[in-house]
């Protein structure tokens, strides 16, 4: 392909996985206690999508990667300090809540609108990437809704691998039930790919890439428009952490053989 791909990656920020989350009630609905103080990371599966996008772009001349992100500006800036050092991309930031309790339909409409007005975006070369689910809402809905807004009829979810074929078609491996992959070929862009883990390790930090990226990221954050998110008929009756706390029996003084015997008996129990 002489003109390359235009890869738009949708991805936001989520609380660090090691943090304990406590739900609270806010005027806008459920939220997390001290949400703005919790350390944040780029949503893991969206992160994989970004790294895969950069990898494809590096192999297909003329390609470009955008990261479209809806989140609190201050938190986005914090996370970008790290992510910017990984791969090259241009940030399109939208200032607003990245909460898992915000309605996916509203978020999708905002993101689709933002993507639709990217200057010189050629939809015939568009690959829309993102995580197949977020680590916040975890619904696997937003990306499909954006795809529908943008009229993309070739959509794939749980993607672990994409191979660009000699004729420009894409061979795509999607996760399906039972630890297997469905293999499809798509004639080419426009296409939507919701990524699972992919097949690339997390890139090492490269300060030079970081410096180049930050030249455009800081202005993008300053330009970020505030999004108005209205929950359209969505109400939460309750939000709570899991209640179940087990009474753990700690077995310290058994030999390996005795432990093994107990485990085998337990496995055999119906």
């Amino acid at each position: 392909m002489s003109t390359g791909y235009q890869i738009v990656v949708c991805g936001s920020i989520v609380p660090d996985p090691l943090q304990t989350l406590e739900p609270i009630e806010t005027p806008a609905g459920p939220g997390l206690k001290n949400e703005m103080l919790l350390p944040a990371v780029l949503d893991p599966w969206a992160g994989h999508a970004l790294y895969e996008a950069a990898n494809i772009a590096s192999r297909v001349p003329g390609s470009k990667v955008w990261l479209v992100s809806l989140g609190a500006k201050a938190k986005l800036q914090q996370v970008m300090m790290t992510i910017a050092q990984k791969v090259s991309f241009e940030l399109l930031a939208i200032d607003g809540p990245a909460s898992g309790f915000v309605d996916a339909h509203v978020v999708a409409a905002i993101l689709a609108e933002a993507i639709g007005v990217i200057p010189d975006l050629d939809r015939s070369r568009l690959l829309l990437f993102g995580g197949w689910e977020s680590a916040s809402r975890g619904a696997g809905v937003t990306l499909q809704l954006i795809g529908e807004h943008l009229g993309i009829l070739d959509q794939f979810q749980g993607v672990d691998q994409v191979n660009v074929q000699a004729d420009g078609s894409l061979e795509i491996l999607e996760r399906i039930e039972g630890g297997r992959h469905q293999v499809s070929t798509c004639l080419g862009p426009p296409a939507l790919l919701g990524w699972a883990t992919g097949s690339l390790p997390e890139p090492r930090n490269n300060p030079q890439i970081g410096m180049v990226n930050m030249r455009t990221i800081m202005p993008a954050l300053q330009r970020a428009k505030a999004a108005v998110l209205v929950q359209d008929g969505l109400r939460y009756r309750s939000v709570s952490p899991p209640k179940q706390q087990r009474q753990t029996r700690i077995v310290k003084d058994l030999s390996a053989e005795e432990v093994a015997r107990e485990i085998v008996e337990w496995i055999a129990q119906k």
């Binding site: 898992g100 696997g140 969505l234 009756r237 753990t248 077995v251 432990v259 093994a260």
Partner: protein, 350 residues
């Protein structure tokens, strides 16, 4: 509000059976229909749906509609979304319930946009109280559970597998009405080539197994002799999976090591990863080995009923109310003995 329910189902990859999840979520849909006093229609998608109509003939549906043909044999977004849209337009339901299979999880969310409705996925239960419908699902990767309601209709709900007793009824002679769908050329740019799976004896992911065996990064760490023994770990784990029929899960740290081509467990891939950035499988029992039991790991155990762990640290996360039993022991030694006992038991049964 008077509700009407459409239950959507698809045939499995063989084209001659229905996925197990179809029967489970049909059980949930029928229960909701009963609570609401609402009519329930069934929509079927596949190359041939007569056998499916026969299987569900006695489910008590008001009517059964189907989209059938070669174009709908395999899971593909454009054709599945078009088929589901056509059935929805033919029935005008206020609630659309469907199993959260990979096929429907790919295709149905976009339907909400097409029908000016809304969609929720990974629903673990749905019920009606005094005419109000609420759905339960997890947020933040199984760390918070929410119960939600929506005013907008149609409301599409994809139900998770393993959350409801399956509907079971005698097959009959199923009558169904065909809904015609003509796909435009742009809906056929994707061709499904097939399924890529490990060889049967190499497949370590077994969703229907009664036991989940989780290996943590401790299997690749230095042992008391000061050396790592990944080959021995590999053989102990594979022998155990073979003898017990367990499904294999791995912690993120372990599968990440495998991805970085370190000398670790060759059979472990990201497909095995359980936890906050992996799967949250459903199995009756789970045995964790060489894994700390910290929150990101335990998220992957949310739907494991009976939990046991083997760890050398008596103060690990499992000890703090996350496992039923924590064995403070060396997993290498214990699993070697377990394998011997299982082998003896298999030999005795022959």
């Amino acid at each position: 509000m008077t509700e009407s329910i459409l239950y959507l189902a698809h045939t499995d990859e063989s084209g001659t059976a229905l996925p197990k999840a179809v029967f489970e979520t049909l059980g949930g849909a029928l229960e909701l229909a009963k609570q609401l006093g609402a009519p329930l229609d069934i929509g079927l998608i596949g190359e041939n749906v007569q056998f499916a109509a026969d299987l569900l003939a006695n489910a008590g549906a008001r009517r059964v509609l189907g989209v059938a043909g070669a174009d709908f044999a395999k899971p593909r977004f454009a054709s599945d979304a078009a088929a589901a849209e056509a059935v929805c337009r033919a029935t005008s339901p206020s609630l659309i319930l469907a199993p959260g299979t990979s096929r429907f999880s790919r295709a149905l969310p976009s339907l909400a946009q097409r029908l000016h409705g809304q969609v929720d996925t990974h629903i673990t239960s749905v019920e009606a109280q005094e005419g109000k419908i609420s759905a339960t699902r997890w947020f933040y990767r199984q760390r918070l559970e929410g119960v939600l309601e929506r005013d907008v209709r149609p409301w599409i709900l994809l139900l998770d597998s393993g959350c409801h007793e399956p509907w079971s009824g005698a097959p009959g002679c199923g009558q169904w009405g065909k809904v015609a769908v003509a796909l435009p050329p742009e809906a056929m740019r994707t061709t499904v080539m097939g399924i890529r799976a490990p060889k049967t004896d190499a497949q370590t992911i077994r969703p229907d197994s009664g036991l989940l065996f989780v290996a943590g990064a401790g299997w690749t760490k230095k042992q008391p002799d000061g050396k790592a023994h990944p080959e021995k770990a590999e053989s102990l784990i594979l022998d155990f999976l073979h003898a017990s029929g367990a499904s294999l899960g791995g912690s993120k740290s372990l599968v990440d090591q495998s991805g970085e081509n370190q000398a670790v467990l060759g059979f472990m891939t990201h497909m095995n990863q359980v936890g906050q950035t992996g799967y949250t499988p459903r199995h009756p029992k789970g045995l964790s080995t060489c894994c700390h039991g910290e929150e990101p790991h335990v998220v992957g155990w949310r739907f494991i009923n009976e939990r046991r762990a083997i760890n050398l640290d008596p103060n690990c996360g499992w000890a703090r109310g996350k496992a039923d039993v924590l064995y403070v022991a060396d997993a290498f030694q214990v699993m070697e003995k377990v394998n011997t006992l299982l082998a003896t038991s298999v030999a005795a049964s022959k």
